[in-house]
Symmetry: C2
Subunit: 332 residues, 2 copies
């Protein structure tokens, strides 16, 4: 049974996932992962995952059999568990609660070797629809305050299986990074009566130097103060506080710009591992004027990791202007 | 010339270090670093570093020659530069300033193969004295607001040279993680009129389950809500807001507990790479009742990296109680 624990100084909640309980020897230097032939996310192995929560099928095949285009299943090794009350308690000066939440895996395609670079725009769009479908379902559960959707691509970015997939974690707390963005956005809004992200989009479109690409509904930029080299943000041009409120045409254009951006990153940086995170409003304040949902893409360029991990302070050896120039000008 | 840039939403400053300017190809998959024979931190290569700022020598040898026990030099590839004004400017809605600061390297021993595990307590104590000497010197410079001292041990933790060394960065801003700890501590103090870290130490000593070891002046614990497996904090038992205010006997006992803790971590986790960071008060508020300086030690256990990098949300597969038990009970 896992727990959510709160740091008593900075208020950051962490999941202590004892179910995944590792012994110290599990952490010692491991041989490079062999490319094992068996993949629980491929056709024919549907019984090797927990029963599916959702699948997209166009051919009338039965649940938990082959024939699907996209499949959502509970994580077999969940960091949180879905059943039970939160049981918030103190332990002296410390605060904790039970590790209640949902932890799901979105298998975006049956093609073991596919990536967002190679997948069709339609398949990527379906991935966004599946995210939305899951959010619409999970938001009914009043224990949850935030739904975190992310993708780890490549082992160095934290992917434990090669077959492309995303993850969804529904949480009874709001992650610290999200709270900070909400607080910062709200402060800006109180002062200026404008969304800070809308202001950024206006300035970036006018300056041009950090714009990687844009289409009808979205813009891809290298942010002004990036933590990591080639960090990239994708934002809807029209103000929208929640990912799941997007219009159909927005998901179409989002798929287009995401695929294109990943192709650019792949060409310039030789297909690096990356983390993709959807930043959106908490469930209780889905519709607001101050927060602007967006996607953050962080290529994992191992040479520069390490320092930030310990200090919380970032040194980035690549200006966003340089990164944007490379990504914009690469031939795709 | 590098720049400090502020994220307009969450207020986080980052260093954009253009002097280290990397091209995209610098980030693509690199061969494992060869253990090159040449080491600029070994005897005889004193002219391969910038001239030394400080050295400890017991034998009357001349500066920038062999014979030193410890040597502090400017970083050859500094993230910040020491000369010039801050030149704070806005760029539309964005804020930036010149990348002014000091970036120094502390070479703790001439022994290429030494580590804090193998070094004498006296040599580790001297390292702390050198940190203090540099802080006392740099605090005179009124442009600086914070001095960050840290050690990356091992390539996976960000060390670019094998020869053991620490780093010091004097900054014209306060890093976000530090601000958050200060704010949190001050809130607790306003409410309780007690230091939150003193409260934690009291509770941990009384509970016992997260205590790894203690000596006269220090305690080593697995914190209640650790971000990383085997994350370890070392705190002075007596309230003290600044590292550099420590008494001589405190540096002696600090060396003892740090060496011992790293030996424990080394035995349990097979000598992992790690980051060590000194958390101390900003220069303008060195003496206060609410903040408590301490050391945070984060073994870098690669299997669990990745997810947190992108999401700012931490899943830790090892309870601090389990970590403390292993570290406490290992035979040293």
């Amino acid at each position: 049974m896992s727990e959510l624990r709160k740091d008593p100084i900075v208020g950051r909640w962490v999941i202590i996932s004892t179910d995944r309980g590792k012994r110290p020897t599990d952490f010692t230097v491991q041989p490079p992962k062999e490319n094992s032939k068996f993949c629980p996310f491929c056709y024919g192995n549907e019984d090797k995952t927990p029963p599916e929560i959702l699948s997209y099928r166009t051919n009338g095949t039965a649940p938990n059999t082959s024939g699907w285009n996209l499949r959502v299943v509970p994580n077999k090794f969940p960091a949180l568990q879905i059943e039970g009350g939160l049981d918030k308690v103190g332990e002296g000066i410390f605060d904790k609660m039970r590790g209640i939440g949902a932890h799901e895996v979105i298998i975006e395609t049956s093609d073991h070797k596919a990536t967002f670079e190679s997948m069709s725009k339609k398949a990527i769009e379906d991935t966004f629809w599946s995210f939305r479908d899951r959010v619409m379902d999970l938001r009914k559960d009043k224990r949850f305050r935030y739904i975190l959707i992310f993708k780890n691509h490549g082992q160095e970015a934290g992917a434990s299986l090669e077959h492309t997939h995303s993850q969804l974690i529904a949480l009874p707390i709001i992650p610290k990074l999200v709270s900070e963005e909400l607080d910062g956005s709200l402060n800006h809004y109180k002062f200026k009566e404008r969304c800070v992200y809308c202001d950024i989009i206006r300035q970036e479109l006018s300056d041009g130097i950090r714009v990687i690409s844009e289409n009808r509904d979205f813009i891809a930029i290298s942010p002004f103060a990036p933590r990591f080299p080639f960090e990239t943000w994708i934002l809807p041009k029209a103000h929208d506080s929640s990912f799941e409120d997007s219009q159909k045409h927005e998901f179409e254009y989002l798929s287009e710009i995401l695929k294109e951006t990943l192709i650019r990153i792949g060409k310039v940086l030789n297909h690096p591992p990356y983390n993709l995170v959807i930043h959106t409003s908490p469930l209780a304040e889905q519709h607001n004027e101050y927060y602007h949902w967006h996607i953050e893409l962080m290529p994992k360029l191992t040479q520069v990791a390490g320092f930030e991990w310990g200090t919380g302070f970032y040194i980035n050896p690549t200006t966003p202007e340089t990164a944007a120039k490379y990504l914009k000008e690469v031939e795709i």
